[in-house]
């Protein structure tokens, strides 16, 4: 039970690595930087493994008390400990984070090999891992928020890693500021949470909720408000409508960063948060519906945008957004386990996709435009196969990880406790689009004739330290889903079973639903294989094949025939322009003409300068007293003494 008692070790290790690399790395040689960076994360992963082992030995259904290491803030009865907590959800998140980040670290040694500020990159990555682990392990909202903001910071640093590139810088700023908007809501949510429950510890809050009749702990209205506010944070962090705009731009950062932060871990923080807060959400139906709705809409719209993108990473970015949308859909319809499950599988295959894309870009010598590629499948076979597997997974081809998770979500949306057919439909179409644009990507990239100049670009397979992570992830993307498979072919869902305590312990009492009649396994397998998702996924595959292999001119014709919607989608629904016009410009105007010229220059500067002037004037008057003649000083002393004496004699007289 060592790690269980010393959880801090897990998060301390990456921090240590970050510190060493960041402070001393400048003079380190690459091997040292590698060993420090990778070593710290690897140790973290090992300690996670040990933790999992110890956790497995615990008696079933035991809920561990948070471990408080020291009191962090105390103000009145507002008390925040630096306390960490482990439960099944945490275990899963920990596993995903440590494992993926380990792989990404290894991958980066190859991908970033020739970059300036190599040590800087690794120290940032370690820092990110530290904050992510803090976020995951935190036992109270405030500490979670620290991790939350920390990962935001690291994302900012890493997106703007090439800080000589203007676009990178602005992308970093955009990412940070956009998420800040969401975090604002999150902050208010936290305050409201404390105001309502008088505590910020998850366990305390949940204990308040559980058992008490709906309005005893907090009225549904308040709960809804809290949940919505918290969800705003999630929307910002996980790039949901309407705050998803930063994620595509964040692709300016190095590809490993996109893989780790903007696909596998950070963007899923919102999902994790909602899942963590499930007792609250479960008690706020409206909020739940909002979550589901936002999720579904995002899933759909992002997918549509993804259809026409030509930048390989942009496509992946939008697919990430839409996949996150699926997760929220899953959470929203009450299938928390499914949402988290999709989170996990998505971490695998999307991480894989990004890394593979990175490998492609690596091979193409930095070119990201798909129209310039084509016919790469023989040149970089490993990458090709890995990417293909990932595509199958995300498209939901049966047997691959994504299939199970996404299918569970859609199933829940169709027949779950709070099912909603409209959302299901959106999700379904989105799934179709997903498979379409993914296969479009595959076909454009790996099939057909090379559309690049053979002489300029020397396509080559990536080194082992890049391909090995790909392979590992590919394996996981393949088998990763089977932990939940039996649910579909009858039997029990290990994953859900594992997570059950988290979502059941504090769940609201619901009328026991009659278990739907179990059909025969074979029947169920048939259903599973011919379910709508599968069909539509295959449809997407076929359409893509038709468009980009069979008759490549069809898309153009289609685009010409559907000019208006095409341009609309091509310009991402003009969302950026809309925001620019609706928010940024007015904000700029106000800041310039009101805050700057009026408030700052007139009011604040006026006050400060005024104070300064007063001080100067009075000083130049008063300094005359400092004649430098000690006798005058002496006389002043005597004057004071006389004053005191007179006063005291007066008091004495009064006393008598």
């Amino acid at each position: 039970m060592f790690i269980l008692d010393h959880l801090w070790i897990i998060i301390a290790l990456p921090l240590l690595g970050a510190a060493i690399n960041g402070l001393l790395g400048k003079n380190f040689s690459k091997p040292i930087v590698n060993s420090v960076g990778i070593g710290s994360v690897a140790l973290a992963f090992l300690s996670f493994a040990e933790l999992a082992r110890e956790f497995a030995q615990l008696p079933a259904g035991q809920i561990l008390e948070p471990k408080s290491y020291f009191t962090w803030i105390t103000a009145g009865q507002f008390k925040v400990d630096f306390s960490l907590q482990v439960d099944q959800l945490t275990i899963i998140m920990l596993g995903v984070v440590t494992f993926v980040s380990l792989l990404v670290h290894i991958y980066s040694t190859g991908y970033m090999a020739h970059e300036e500020g190599y040590y800087r990159f690794f120290s940032y990555l370690n820092l990110f891992v530290f904050f992510m682990l803090t976020l995951v392990l935190a036992a109270n909202v405030v500490l979670m928020f620290v991790g939350w903001e920390g990962v935001g910071l690291c994302s900012y640093l890493l997106v703007g890693f090439w800080f000589l590139k203007q676009s990178a810088i602005s992308a970093g700023k955009k990412a940070f500021i956009t998420t800040r908007i969401g975090d604002f809501g999150f902050t208010i949510g936290i305050l409201l949470l404390f105001w309502t429950f008088g505590s910020v510890d998850f366990v305390t809050i949940f204990k308040h909720l559980v058992g008490a009749p709906p309005d005893a702990a907090a009225s549904t209205g308040v709960l809804t408000t809290i949940c919505l506010l918290l969800f705003t944070g999630a929307v910002g962090k996980s790039a949901q409508l309407p705050l998803y705009v930063w994620l595509p731009d964040a692709m300016e950062g190095p590809t490993p960063v996109s893989a780790l932060i903007h696909a596998a871990t950070m963007v899923t923080a919102g999902v994790y948060m909602v899942a963590r807060m499930n007792p609250l959400f479960s008690r706020a139906p409206v909020a739940m519906f909002v979550v589901a709705l936002i999720g579904a809409l995002t899933a759909f719209f992002a997918a549509t945008i993804g259809l026409v993108q030509t930048d390989i990473k942009k496509v992946l970015a939008y697919s990430t957004v839409s996949q996150l949308g699926y997760m929220f859909l899953g959470l929203g319809v009450g299938a928390y386990a499914s949402g988290v499950f999709h989170l996990m599988t998505h971490a695998f295959f999307k991480g894989l996709l990004f890394l593979a894309a990175g490998s492609v870009i690596h091979a193409m010598g930095g070119d990201q435009e798909m129209p310039h590629m084509g016919g790469l499948r023989n040149k970089i076979p490993i990458t090709f196969w890995c990417m293909l597997i990932a595509t199958f997974a995300i498209a939901g081809i049966p047997g691959f990880a994504g299939y199970f998770s996404k299918d569970e979500i859609l199933e829940a949306a169709r027949s779950g406790p709070n099912a909603n057919i409209g959302l299901w439909l959106l999700g379904l179409i989105g799934a179709g689009f997903t498979s379409f644009y993914m296969f479009r990507l595959i076909f454009l990239t790996f099939f057909g004739e090379p559309r690049y100049d053979e002489h300029k670009v020397h396509v080559h397979e990536s080194p082992y330290n890049m391909t090995v992570p790909l392979i590992l992830l590919a394996i996981l993307s393949t088998v990763g889903g089977w932990v939940a498979a039996p649910h579909l072919v009858g039997g029990t869902d290990y994953f859900e079973k594992f997570l059950h305590p988290v979502f059941a312990t504090y769940a609201p009492a619901v009328a026991e639903r009659a278990p739907e009649a179990l059909e025969s396994p074979g029947m169920m397998l048939f259903h599973a294989l011919t379910g709508w998702p599968v069909l539509i996924a295959l449809a997407g595959l076929l359409v893509a094949w038709w468009f980009y292999i069979k008759s490549p001119e069809t898309p153009k014709k289609l685009a010409d025939s559907l000019r208006a919607p095409y341009t609309l989608v091509l310009h991402k629904y003009y969302v950026d322009e809309l925001y620019n016009a609706a928010i940024i410009q007015p904000l700029l105007w106000i800041s310039t003409n009101v805050l700057w010229h009026v408030v700052d220059e007139t009011v604040i500067d006026g006050t400060v300068n005024g104070v300064a002037r007063v001080a100067r004037e009075s000083g130049s008057e008063l300094r005359e007293i400092q004649s430098g003649n000690a006798r005058s000083y002496a006389t002043w002393v005597v004057i004071g003494a006389v004053g005191v004496t007179v006063l005291m004699i007066g008091l004495w007289g009064m006393v008598r």
Binding site: E624, Q626, S627, G628, N629, A630, R631, A634, T635, V638
Partner: protein, 102 residues
């Protein structure tokens, strides 16, 4: 053999203290001003001893002891300072040592 009332001592100490203050403001010679301070200290000591006697407690005497010791230390440092000042300014008149001003 009757005792002198404490009040006499107190009045005397008050007078001496006052004279010390007067000397403090009237004199120009640093050393003399320093002496004026010593005079005030002495006056206070007298009051201390008188009260100690009046209340039959030794604390007053102990305080006098401390006052004397501190005064000794103070005079040692002060005179050293005076010497240094004199070496730099060739004067002891406090009104001529007025560089430290606005």
């Amino acid at each position: 053999m009757s005792i002198v009332p404490i009040s006499y001592y107190l009045v005397l100490s008050a007078i001496l203290f006052g004279l010390g203050v007067v000397a403090f403001v009237v004199k120009r010679n640093i050393i003399t001003i320093f002496m004026a301070i010593e005079l005030m200290l002495n006056a206070v000591n007298l009051a201390f001893v008188a009260f100690a006697r009046a209340h039959n407690q030794l604390d007053g005497l102990v305080f006098v002891f401390f006052v004397i010791v501190v005064a000794a230390a103070e005079s040692a440092v002060g005179l050293a300072i005076i010497i240094t000042v004199y070496q730099n300014r060739q004067t002891l008149n406090i009104e001529r040592i007025n560089l430290l001003k606005f």
